[in-house]
Amino acid sequence: MASAKPAATAHRSDSGVMERRAERERTRRNWLLSAPALALLVIGASGPLIIVLVYSFMTPGDFSGVEWTPTFDAWVQIFFTRDIFDDTLGLADAHLSIFWRSVRLSLLTTAITIVFGLPTAWFIATRPGRARTFWLFLITIPFWTNLLVRTFAILEMIRNEGLLNTWLIKLGVIASPLQIMYTDTAVLIGMAYVYLPLMVLPLYAAIERFDFRLVEAGYDLYANRLQVLRRVILPIVKPGIVAGSILVFVPSLGAYVTPRVLGGGKNMMIGNFIELQFGQGRNWPLGASLSIFLLLIVMVALLYYVRASTRGSSHD
C-alpha cells in the first residue's frame, strides 16, 4: 500500500514519514499484543503439527509410528488406492464418500444452529440488564455437563423406546416408533445440540453491542420488514454469524464422539477415519497426510471467507 506512489509524494515527505512511522509503531504494538497468544499456540498446537507434516512423508512403521524412509505414498493414498485384488490404481471412492458425508453433515449442522441460535441470541441480547446475564448463564449451564453424558441423554430421548417415541405414540401422532437412532438424522441432532453454544455466544456478543433505540428510531426510514432485515438486522448479526459458523462448521468436520455414539458407528466421518489410521489401522503417515489435507482445505476456505467478509464490511 505504502509503495504505490514513490515520487509524487516528495513535497509532503515529512508528514508522510511521520505517518509511516506511526503506522509502523501501531503495527508493532498490534503484533506485541498478539504475541503471547501466538507463542502459546505455537507451543501447544501449531508447532507440534510440524511433526505431523514430517510424518506424512514417511513410511508406516510395523506396529505404530513411522519408519524414516521418505515417500509420497501417504499423499497418493488420499485420493488413489491400489485395488486389493487386481492391483490397479484407482480413485479412492471410499475416501471421497467419507469426505462428502462430513462436509454435508457439517454444513447442515451449521445451518441448524443458525436457525435456532440466531433467535435465541437475539432474545438474550434484548433482555434488560441483569436478566441478560441470567439467560446467558442459562444457555451455558447444560454444557457444564460432560459431553458424553449429554450424548447419552440424547440417545435416551431419541431411541426407539425412548421418551420422544413413547410420547409421540401416546399422543397418537405416530403408530410405530420412528427409527432415528443410528441414522444421519441422529448425528445431526447430536451435533446441533453439542455445537449450539458455539453459535449462540458469538452471536450474542455481536448483537448485544447494538443500540436498539437507534434502530427503532431509524425504522421510519425503511418501508417494509424485508428492508429492515437487509439493512438493519443483517449488518448487526453478520460478524456473529461469521464467527459462529467457523466455530461450528470446522469442529463438526472432525467430530468423533457423536457419530460414534448416535450414528452407531456404521458410517465414518473424517474424524473417525483419521482416528482409524492412528488407532486400529496403524497407518500414521496416512492419518498425518489426511489431517494436513483437511487443514489446507479449511484454511483456504477460511481465507476466502475472511477476505469476503472484510471486503463486505468495508463497503458498509
Binding site: F63, I84, A94, N160, E161, G264, K266, G279, Q280, G281
Partner: protein
C-alpha cells in the same frame, strides 16, 4: 475476591498433584472400568503402598503412550497379542513371574502361552472369548455360528450390532469362509469383503456398550465378549452366548511391568499378589471374565460358577484360537476392507 480464592485453591491442587508424598507408590495403567477397587484397597493396605489407577480405552492408545515415554506408569495390562510388540520394542522389564512365589497357582494351560513362553514377563489378568450374544426371545435357532451377523436370519435383520473391533470382526469373517487368522490369500479376502459388504445393510449399528444395550433390548444380537454377555444375562435372562463353530478368537490380558517403571519392587509385589487365587477371584467377580489362576473359582460369586459364558462347551473348544497381531501387509488390506465397509 471470589475469583482469587478459586485461583488459589487451583494453585494448591496443582502443587500437590506434582509432589510425591507417599513413601510407597504404584502407578497402574489399565482398561477403564476393569479393575476392582476392593482389590486395589486390599493391596494398598497389605503393603502400605499408594496405588494410582489411570484408564485407557484401547490397546493402540496404551502402546502409543507407553512408547512415547515420560508417562510415569509402572504397570500396563495389554492384550496378549500385543505383548510381543512391547517386548520387541524393549518396553517391558523381565520380572520373571515364573520364579515368583505364587506362580504355582497359574493353571498349566496359561504357563506356556504363545506371547510369553514360560511367563518371563507377564502374569494373567483375565481371559475370554469373542463370540455372539443373542436374545433367545427373538431367535431360537442355532447361535453357535457367525452367520448370526454375517448372514443374519430373517428374525434378526436390522437388529444386529457389530462391535467396531477390526481385528476381531475381520478374523471372525475369515474363519467363517474357511480361512486362517491373518491370511493374505486374495480369494479368501475377496469372499470376506463381499460377505461383509452384503451383510452391513442388515446391521443396526457398529458400536460398543453392548452390555447395556443387550440388557434393555436395544438390539437382539451382537458380536460380543463372553464376560459382557454374562453381565447382561444377570438382568435379562433371555440373553444367550454362542461360540461360532467356524472359529472364534480367544484373548487374554496380561499384567506387565514397564522398563521405565519407577516403582519396580511394588510392581513385582503386585504381579505376585495377582497370582493368589483369592485376589484373582476379585478381578473376575468385578469384570465377569475367567482369570487363569487355579483354585480361584471357590472365591468367586455363586452365579459365576458353571456359567455357560465362562465355560466353553467341549465340542466347541477346538474352534477357539488366539489371534496373533497380523503383519503390516495383512493389516493394510484389512484396513482397506474396513474402510470400504464404513464409507
Amino acid at each position: 475476591m471470589r475469583l482469587s480464592t478459586l485461583t488459589m485453591t487451583a494453585a494448591a491442587l496443582l502443587a500437590t498433584t506434582t509432589l510425591s508424598f507417599a513413601a510407597g507408590e504404584l502407578n497402574i495403567y489399565n482398561w477403564g472400568n476393569y479393575t476392582n477397587p476392593d482389590l486395589i484397597k486390599k493391596f494398598e493396605e497389605k503393603f502400605d503402598v499408594k496405588v494410582t489407577l489411570t484408564d485407557y480405552d484401547s490397546n493402540t492408545t496404551a502402546l502409543t503412550k507407553i512408547e512415547a515415554g515420560g508417562h510415569g506408569f509402572d504397570i500396563v495390562v495389554p492384550t496378549g497379542n500385543y505383548v510381543p510388540i512391547y517386548v520387541e520394542k524393549g518396553l517391558l522389564l523381565e520380572t520373571r513371574p515364573d520364579e515368583m512365589e505364587n506362580f504355582k497357582n497359574v493353571a498349566p494351560r496359561w504357563v506356556d502361552v504363545p506371547w510369553d513362553m514360560g511367563r518371563h514377563y507377564t502374569v494373567p489378568w483375565q481371559w475370554g472369548t469373542t463370540g455372539i450374544a443373542v436374545n433367545k426371545k427373538s431367535y431360537s435357532g442355532d447361535i453357535n455360528t457367525s452367520a448370526i451377523f454375517l448372514d443374519p436370519p430373517a428374525e434378526l435383520v436390522g437388529k444386529v450390532n457389530v462391535v467396531p473391533e477390526m481385528s476381531d470382526v475381520m478374523n471372525l469373517a475369515i474363519f467363517y469362509v474357511g480361512g486362517e487368522a491373518c491370511t493374505e490369500d486374495k480369494e479368501v479376502l475377496r469372499k470376506v469383503r463381499d460377505l461383509l459388504v452384503a451383510a452391513k445393510p442388515k446391521w443396526q449399528s457398529m458400536d460398543y456398550g453392548t452390555t447395556d444395550k443387550l440388557k434393555n433390548g436395544e438390539y437382539q444380537a451382537t458380536v460380543n465378549w463372553n464376560g459382557s454377555t454374562f453381565k447382561a444375562r444377570q438382568e435379562n435372562p433371555d440373553v444367550a452366548y454362542g461360540y461360532p463353530k467356524e472359529g472364534y478368537p480367544l484373548w487374554m490380558d496380561a499384567v506387565a511391568v514397564l522398563k521405565d517403571a519407577k516403582n519396580v519392587e511394588n510392581a513385582k509385589l503386585f504381579q505376585n499378589f495377582l497370582m493368589e487365587p483369592e485376589n484373582a477371584a476379585m478381578i473376575s467377580s468385578f469384570a465377569g471374565y475367567a482369570n487363569g489362576i487355579s483354585g480361584s473359582a471357590e472365591f468367586m460369586p455363586e452365579k459365576m460358577k458353571g456359567a455357560p459364558e465362562l465355560e466353553t462347551p467341549e465340542d466347541l473348544q477346538a474352534a477357539g484360537q488366539f489371534l496373533p497381531v497380523c503383519p503390516k501387509s495383512a493389516r493394510d488390506i484389512y484396513t482397506a476392507i474396513w474402510t470400504e465397509l464404513q464409507k
